[in-house]
């Protein structure tokens, strides 16, 4: 089945130790998103790629970076994780085409990050 796959499902890192989360998709969607979701909060958009064009949200800390080497893969790099970065990180994709369907986002299962 076509889907959005995130690895790992759970990641434990130490304070200040760089960590990379990965996302792959078999939907051939041209837009990929990274969200941060803390307990009982709405997903917060960090950035998105429209094809190769990178779009950073204004309030995304510089500590967060992203790479998209090809259509199928996207990575979230946290350069120096702090305790406040412990959260669920969600990857999503959206399909190209008509405006009506462009905004429907399909999510992966998420990576739960713990910072010790």
């Amino acid at each position: 089945d076509a889907m959005v796959i995130q690895n790992p499902r759970y990641q434990v890192t130490q304070f200040g130790k760089p960590v990379t989360l990965s996302c792959s998709q078999t939907l051939n969607h041209n837009v990929m998103y990274w969200y941060q979701q803390k307990s009982s909060q709405a997903p917060k958009l960090l950035f998105h790629y429209y094809d190769k064009d990178f779009n950073n949200e204004a309030d995304t800390p510089d500590n967060f970076q992203s790479r998209r080497p090809n259509t199928s893969f996207c990575f979230l790099d946290i350069r120096s994780p702090g305790l406040g970065d412990a959260a669920m990180y969600l990857c999503a994709t959206s399909r190209p085409g008509l405006a009506e369907t462009k905004n429907i986002q399909y999510f992966g299962a998420g990576t739960r990050l713990s910072v010790l």
Partner: protein
């Protein structure tokens, strides 16, 4: 004031009850409205999607949009324990750039 407001709950109902979940919003430019279901420790999955005002039905689920009141609802008929999850509303505008905003979610428990 948040652009999208959603009662966090929790909402607890007996099996078979009709559930009503709601969101209000402040930006009249929102045009597309979605409901996502999120099980514990999982990613959100799309349930319903509507454009502009009106109703849309899919099985036990009905999505309702009232743009004049800036109010959207999701109704679940004959609720089941498997419906226990967090329900997130989301809405999109293309005015001034593409933007999707999520509500914080309402946690629903359906008791057997």
């Amino acid at each position: 004031q948040k652009e999208v407001e959603q009662d966090p709950g929790p909402l607890s109902v007996p099996e078979g009850a009709i559930v009503s979940l709601n969101c209000t919003y402040s930006n009249s430019a929102f045009q597309y409205f979605m409901w996502y279901r999120q099980y514990s420790r999982k990613g959100p999955e799309l349930l319903m999607y509507t454009y502009s005002s009106g109703n849309k039905e899919d099985g036990r689920f009905t999505a309702q949009v009232d743009k004049s009141s800036k109010y959207i609802s999701l109704f679940i008929r004959d609720s089941q324990p498997s419906d226990s999850a967090t329900y997130l509303c989301a809405m999109t505008t293309f005015t001034g750039g593409f933007k999707t905003i999520f509500g914080a979610g309402t946690r629903l428990f359906v008791k057997a």
